[in-house]
């Protein structure tokens, strides 16, 4: 009782010096945090790195059944001109059979389902279902999957054995997500802008 009373008494009478101590310490902490931020943020992508974020590709020379890999933002992007059979195979799959049921398409809302229509270039104004354009890094640990390989005849990642189908959707293996579709825009009928 007396001890608690003494503490209350003490707390009731902060001195001018107490205030100065706390205020000075508080300012030092805030100042330190403010100084720290530039030294953390400098490691994020620089302005010129961000400015280099879009490229334009002429897709007319890509024949049916052919695939090219272009470099965008330092990594591979697959552009595949799919055959009728590949498209049919991709469309025949029930959504329930997919480990990842989201389209992972930057041009669509986050919750868009992983139908082939939502993944192919048909999801973009001016694009056709024949073209599939997606990032070429496995969603497991970033290796580049091999085309026309694996149990689903889409892509196969040799690093840890992930199988993707002809729509670039993960079917089997450790990868958690479908290969994602980057931001796309058709400038003309045959020229696509990535980013």
């Amino acid at each position: 009782m007396t001890k608690a009373a003494a503490q209350a008494d003490h707390a009731a009478e902060p001195t001018r010096r107490d205030f100065i101590h706390i205020a000075t310490g508080g300012m030092a902490v805030i100042g330190g945090a403010l100084v720290l931020w530039p030294f953390i943020d400098q490691m994020n992508p620089a302005a010129d790195t961000l400015a280099l974020a879009s490229i334009r590709i002429d897709i007319s020379p890509i024949a049916e059944g052919q695939e090219i890999t272009v470099m965008w933002r330092g990594g591979p992007v697959f552009i595949r001109h799919r055959s009728e059979r590949e498209i049919e195979a991709a469309r025949a799959e029930a959504l329930e059979a997919l480990p990842d049921r989201l389209a992972r398409n930057d041009n669509l809302p986050d919750n868009a389902p992983a139908t082939d229509e939502n993944r192919s270039a048909a999801s973009i104004e001016g694009g056709s279902a024949a073209f599939l354009i997606m990032r070429g890094n496995c969603t497991h640990l970033g290796c580049v999957p091999l085309k026309e390989a694996g149990d689903y005849h889409g892509w196969y990642c040799p690093c840890h054995g992930s199988h993707y189908d002809t729509s670039g959707r993960i079917r089997r293996g450790p990868a958690p997500e479908n290969l994602s579709v980057p931001p796309l825009r058709f400038v003309t009928e045959t020229e696509v802008q990535i980013g």
Binding site: T49, P76, V144
Partner: protein, 429 residues
């Protein structure tokens, strides 16, 4: 253990210096007259060996940085130029690359020494923890250093490891982009890895000083695990252990020189002689040998985040080891059960390393054929899973329980008694 200082300055200059900066006194008390248990065996020489190798890495590294160019367009060529054109570059580069391997070899022996002789136990918990911090810093330095030559294995190793961080929920992608300084492993990544690779060894040197400081408060442990009780238990560090350490260092350096001069590339990987290509992944990505057991643990779990957590957990468990081992007996010399579990633990660590080097789906041995005619049998994946289970069980189940179950053997009364047997002077009672 460190008693009053016995240093006596003999010249006017050392007396003058001692009154102003007693640095000679510090060295004398730490490395000349420091009382050290008289029964230390050669497993205790690896601390000294590690100190030598840290210096080798720093000196060769500073020299290599004079010739290396941290830019994606020049890095690979500049390393080849060091190996071919720079005067003695072939030697210095080989010393640096093999030095990393030998430092890990020494640190693993040093750590197994600590595990066997209970060096982590009270009152040396903090000494052990500082050692684990050094080990983690070594792995960070080795990983970033491996990226610098910008070969295929450099690039894809960096890609795989940075993508592990992307597995963290919510913040993973942001942290990964922050580490990369771009949208993929690129020039910004190479530059910052070079900067940090140059920094970390000096941080290690700082923690090593703390490690030695924390060693010199309770003093060395020893193979019998009984604490120093009197003057008969110790010898001055110099000349007894300076000479013993020096001999071990020379033997270890002979082995090192064998690799540097006759097999400088056998510990490396052929794919790293191909320049980094962001569009082509090598068929089989493997880390350097000293990280293979952790790579095996990472791949033992089918879940990406689970694998990452387990891998970091495998190192993290070392931090709490002093509180997991419940046995009062320090040295496994006197722990008849624990020593067998320890031997098995060492074997498991080596097996996990083997699993890390192999394709997880390949078979260790085959048992027959399935309906489709494919070979079936026991795969490396399952060997890695068993190994991972034992690795964690050793720390989390076996060591905590053994302290209650095991009946330890009788321990010697003192270090002196352990060394001299019946010849030891009887305690005056």
């Amino acid at each position: 253990m460190s008693g009053p200082s016995t240093y006596e300055p003999k010249t006017p200059f050392t007396r003058w210096l001692d009154a102003r900066l007693p640095i000679v006194r510090l060295g004398w008390d730490s490395f000349v007259d420091f009382p050290t248990p008289r029964n230390l065996n050669y497993w205790w020489t690896f601390g000294g060996i590690l100190a030598v190798f840290l210096m080798i890495q720093i000196i060769t590294g500073i020299v290599l940085a004079m010739h290396y160019v941290p830019h994606v367009d020049y890095a690979f060529d500049s390393v080849e130029r060091i190996r071919r054109d720079v005067n003695y570059g072939w030697l210095i580069q080989a010393m640096h690359a093999n030095g990393a391997s030998f430092m890990f070899l020494a640190v693993y022996i040093h750590m197994f020494r600590g595990l066997y002789y209970g060096s982590y136990k009270q009152p040396r918990e903090l000494l052990w923890i500082l050692g684990v911090v050094i080990y983690i810093l070594m792995m960070a330095a080795a990983f970033m250093g491996y990226v610098l030559p910008w070969g295929q294995m450099s690039y894809w190793g960096a890609m795989v490891i940075t993508n592990l961080i992307g597995a963290l929920p919510l913040v993973g992608d942001a942290i990964r982009e922050w580490l990369w300084g771009g949208f993929s492993v690129g020039n910004a990544t190479l530059n910052r890895f070079f900067s940090l690779h140059y920094l970390i060894p000096f941080v290690i040197a700082g923690v090593v000083i703390l490690h030695i400081w924390a060693l010199h408060v309770p003093g060395n442990g020893n193979p019998d695990g009984v604490e120093v009780k009197g003057k008969g238990d110790t010898l001055p560090f110099h000349p007894y252990y300076t000479v013993k350490d020096a001999f071990a260092i020379v033997v270890f350096l002979i082995l090192f020189a064998g690799f540097v001069f006759f097999a400088p590339n056998v510990l490396g990987h052929a794919d790293n002689f191909i320049e980094a290509d962001p569009l082509i992944t090598p068929a089989h990505i493997v880390p350097e040998w000293y990280l293979l057991p952790f790579y095996a643990i990472l791949r033992a779990v089918p879940d990406k985040l689970g694998g990452v957590l387990l891998m970091f957990g495998a190192i993290g468990v070392l931090f709490v080891l002093p509180w997991l081992d419940t046995s009062k007996v320090r040295s496994m010399r006197y722990r008849p059960l624990a020593r067998w579990f320890f031997v098995f633990f060492v074997i498991i660590c080596l097996l996990l390393g083997w699993c890390g080097a192999e394709n997880p789906d390949d078979l260790v041995f085959k048992l027959g054929y399935d309906a489709a005619g494919n070979e079936t049998g026991f795969s490396f994946l399952w060997l890695a899973r068993i190994g991972t289970a034992y690795y964690f069980a050793y720390f989390l189940i076996i060591l905590p329980l053994l302290g209650f179950i095991e009946k330890p053997k009788e321990r010697p009364a003192s270090i002196e008694a352990a060394v001299l047997g019946d010849a030891a002077p009887k305690p005056a009672e």
